[in-house]
Symmetry: C2
Subunit: 193 residues, 2 copies
């Protein structure tokens, strides 16, 4: 059995340090994401081939990469960037799973999380540490979960495309266009020296 959730980094107590190491800092979105993932994996059968969909491009996916076998590189963690602090973990075979989200209706007792979530400034002394403590104290109490079935089209990653040699730059690429690679059709992201 592969470890999942907080167990994967040695427990909840070790989680903030693991986030710091991987993500660079114990960012609020990754800490909350940890509770989201830990809650979601409990609802999946032990032998589920976990896959993930994350609904924002910031922070959250790192909680998934730390606490599940799903990474962006292995294609099991997919980002659909709708700017929502929510994620779905599901069984890649049955497509059955759970969606967990930070529930804005549950934030009334957690003023610092609420301020952070809605982008209001946290001005008190030591606000970063206080926010972190509030997140760890709140745990799952600010989350909600629902059962979902993922559509097959959303679950399927990009199909392998044939490798070709670009007729403009001469470099190999995979892509639908038979003549030239993405970078030769669009402005290149960097200029060469």
């Amino acid at each position: 059995m592969t470890l999942r959730g907080f167990d994967r980094v040695g427990g909840l107590r070790e989680f903030p340090e693991a986030v710091k190491e991987f993500h660079g800092l114990a960012a609020p979105g990754v800490l909350i994401g940890g509770f989201m993932v830990d809650m979601a994996v409990e609802s999946l059968p032990d032998r589920a081939a976990i896959q993930a969909i994350v609904e924002t491009s910031t922070c959250l996916v790192d909680a998934v990469q730390l606490l599940t076998p799903c990474t962006v590189g292995n294609g099991r963690a997919r980002i659909i960037d709708g700017g929502r602090l929510a994620l779905t973990l599901y069984d890649g075979k049955t497509l059955e799973g759970v969606r967990v989200f930070l529930d804005a209706r549950k934030l009334d007792g957690f003023s610092r999380i609420k301020k952070w979530f809605f982008g209001e400034p946290l001005e008190e002394q030591g606000s970063k540490e206080l926010l972190q403590s509030e997140i760890l104290e709140a745990g799952r109490r600010v989350l909600s979960m629902e059962q979902v079935t993922v559509r097959r089209t959303a679950a399927t990653g990009p199909k392998a495309r044939p490798r070709r040699i670009c007729q403009r730059c001469g470099q190999p690429y995979r892509g639908r266009d038979p003549a030239s690679c993405l970078f030769c059709r669009a402005p290149y992201y960097a200029s060469k020296k």
Copy 2:
């Protein structure tokens, strides 16, 4: 000084195991990616605030996430999916960096890597292990590197957008549309129970 390259996982010898642990298997693209990252970081100044652009959505980004402080979640690893086995590491402040790629012109002595790269079947007994050995033996010899300056537009991640409450589903989201979130405008990726 933050560790970079193979040093980050304890050395080249430990790298395949670290890949297996994070990525799920010691995939050829991540192993080659390790040499690409290790070669690239050497060319960056010690104190460079490393950022990464990866030119394919498969495998390679996990080498970056393992061997540099750049992750998808912290925004320092960015994917521009052009289907090329290439990556750029650069200084986030100066935008100066290096692009490393698997050089198809250097594959003649490495028949298994060549077959794998161009999607031809590897049919011999134990082909997976033989391909892995060939990758570790080849190391940097199948790679090429060039100096590049990343365009500011490519280096900049998505800007923080205001958090709003979606008028259709009632959930908070960040997005340009002032009325509804991405998921209410497009088919939802999952159906609820």
